[in-house]
């Protein structure tokens, strides 16, 4: 029979688990040919938290996301998802971990031979075969409504705007109810109004779903809006990590220059 001590211990373990980082990048190095992109970078994200990764173009921000989703492998260091190291995992084993992750690509990467609806239902067709066709269709409508796309579901990606493509990409990334959301430059190439709409959408989804999110962006305003913590990369490593106020108070030359120019 469970005692009060047993119940308290289990609660403590549960709280400890929920405090453990969902995503942990530990001393990761990555080079392409002789060009060092990531130089011993370390950071972590907990459940319900949004971390914005900022930096100049070419500082390895997108490479970092690709390493976390497993599309590339680090040269050294470890990347852990729920404590499990993912580098070197077989494709099918990595697939099991990826089911818990959603990825929004910079250009949305929609399947151009499929309609908007078919794009969003694609992960469900492969991983939720227990759902009937009508259940999947309902789920797709729900997801598209969540991202503000009620109409145009039968259009092809080439027939919709960049902002709408990003929304479709976001809906697709959320299809499998991920615990981790990775967003690569979600507002890149969008006008200020569309950018603000995407930012609001991301905030709303964060509040509702409490995912661990990493947003890569060079847009400081966007980062301030949607993230609780910011990490500024320079020369392949984190120059500073903290809230926006921490960045403002920093006396590191690169940080001050970055804030001044943003």
């Amino acid at each position: 029979m469970a005692t009060t001590y047993d119940i308290a211990t289990k609660q403590a373990e549960h709280e400890q688990d929920s405090l453990a980082p969902v995503v942990a990048v530990e001393n990761v190095y990555k080079s392409f040919d002789s060009y060092k992109v990531l130089n011993g970078i370390s950071l972590s994200v907990n459940r319900g938290e949004t971390l914005a990764v900022l930096g100049r173009s070419g500082t390895g921000k997108s490479v970092l996301l690709r390493l976390i989703i497993g599309l590339d492998r680090p040269d050294s260091g470890a990347i852990r998802i729920h404590g499990q190291a993912i580098a070197g995992l077989a494709l099918d084993r990595m697939g099991e971990i990826r089911k818990k992750m959603g990825f929004l690509f910079q250009q949305a990467a929609l399947y151009d031979s499929l309609t908007v609806q078919e794009n969003v239902v694609f992960p469900l067709e492969h991983h939720r075969r227990d759902m009937s066709k009508s259940e999947r269709a309902d789920r797709v409508r729900q997801l598209l409504a969540e991202v503000g796309l009620d109409s145009d579901i039968d259009k092809m990606p080439s027939d919709i705007s960049g902002g709408m493509q990003k929304r479709v990409g976001l809906a697709r990334a959320l299809a499998l109810e991920p615990e981790i959301l990775l967003l690569d430059e979600p507002t890149a190439g969008l006008d200020p109004i569309s950018s603000a709409e995407i930012n609001e959408l991301i905030l709303k989804l964060q509040k509702e779903r409490r995912m661990a999110s990493i947003v890569v962006t060079h847009d400081l305003h966007s980062a301030r809006t949607i993230a609780g913590r910011l990490a500024l990369l320079n020369e392949g490593d984190v120059a500073i990590e903290g809230t926006f106020e921490d960045l403002q108070q920093s006396d590191i030359g690169f940080v001050m220059e970055f804030l001044k120019q943003s």
Partner: protein, 283 residues
């Protein structure tokens, strides 16, 4: 440099610069790079093939995608291979009649045409035509998906791209090539007979009877089924080239071109080995 600091535009009338002979170490370096690139390509192809094989034999199977590819490779290539077959039938008929007449062996015409088409020309022409159409199409489609990150998106959605994209395409090529070869052979024989019948009366029944006189299945079936190997080569090379593309639109073009060129080259080289294999085991 000009006065304004920009590189001076070379005059079209200026003499061509004298080319200094390459330093031996530069030539050796280039040769080493070429040599390494050659083996790296084959090594990467080997790894790719293993990934596809593993994905193809483990569930869940992509039946819907396989059926779509069977249609894409098979039914959509049919008009082209039929036309190619019709053309080679007429060409072989004209050439064979002329050559056989010179040697007083006109009666051998039906058998000559039948054996030439089914054992040699039909399989090779089918392979090369399908390599051009399907190889280029597959290579370009997958390359375009690669450069627009669609393949990465598939992988990020926890779907094995080798299972979804490569395996159905390669399997479709393997299954459809023999059927397309039969279509090529049939069209070639029909037009070959027709071209002959226009000059000398020869019924189709007589043509077929004389052409297949004394033949057994082993004389024709191995040559037809060897085209499955052609299909494997075409599908594998096209998928490999497409799925490792880099470099935007130029990369897509290179992938399409390389798919056709390499598939055609390996197909012809494979035929040398397959012909010998058939002669040894099926003669």
């Amino acid at each position: 440099m000009s006065d304004r600091g920009f590189p001076a535009v070379a005059s079209l009338n200026a003499p061509l610069p004298v080319r200094r002979p390459e330093h031996p170490s530069a030539v050796a370096g280039y040769a080493t790079k070429l040599f390494n690139g050659f083996f790296e390509w084959f090594g990467s192809l080997g790894i790719f093939s293993w990934q596809v094989l593993r994905a193809a034999v483990t569930p869940p199977y992509e039946w819907r995608e396989l059926i779509r590819q069977l249609d894409e490779v098979g039914s959509k290539s049919l008009p082209l291979v039929a036309m190619a077959g019709a053309a080679i039938g007429v060409i072989l008929s004209l050439e064979a009649r002329y050559s056989l007449s010179r040697f007083g062996a006109k009666s051998m015409f039906p058998a000559t045409l039948v054996y030439s088409v089914i054992q040699v020309m039909g399989p090779v022409v089918t392979g090369l035509v399908v390599s051009g159409r399907v190889g280029a199409g597959m290579g370009a489609e997958l390359a375009s998906m690669k450069v627009t990150e669609q393949i990465d998106a598939i992988e990020a959605s926890a779907i094995n791209p080798y299972r979804l994209l490569a395996a159905p395409r390669i399997l479709a090529c393997i299954l459809m090539l023999p059927l397309l070869t039969v279509a090529t052979d049939a069209c070639a024989l029909m037009t070959g007979w027709f071209a002959q019948a226009m000059v000398e009366p020869l019924s189709f029944h007589q043509f077929i009877t004389n052409g297949f006189n004394g033949a057994t299945f082993s004389a024709f079936l191995p040559q037809t089924f060897k085209t499955s190997v052609y299909g494997l080569i075409i599908g594998l090379i096209a998928c490999f080239q497409g799925m490792r593309t880099r470099g935007g639109a130029a990369g897509v073009g290179r992938a399409a071109t390389n798919s056709v060129v390499l598939a055609s080259l390996f197909l012809i080289l494979a035929d040398v080995i397959l012909v010998k294999f058939i002669l040894v085991f099926f003669s």
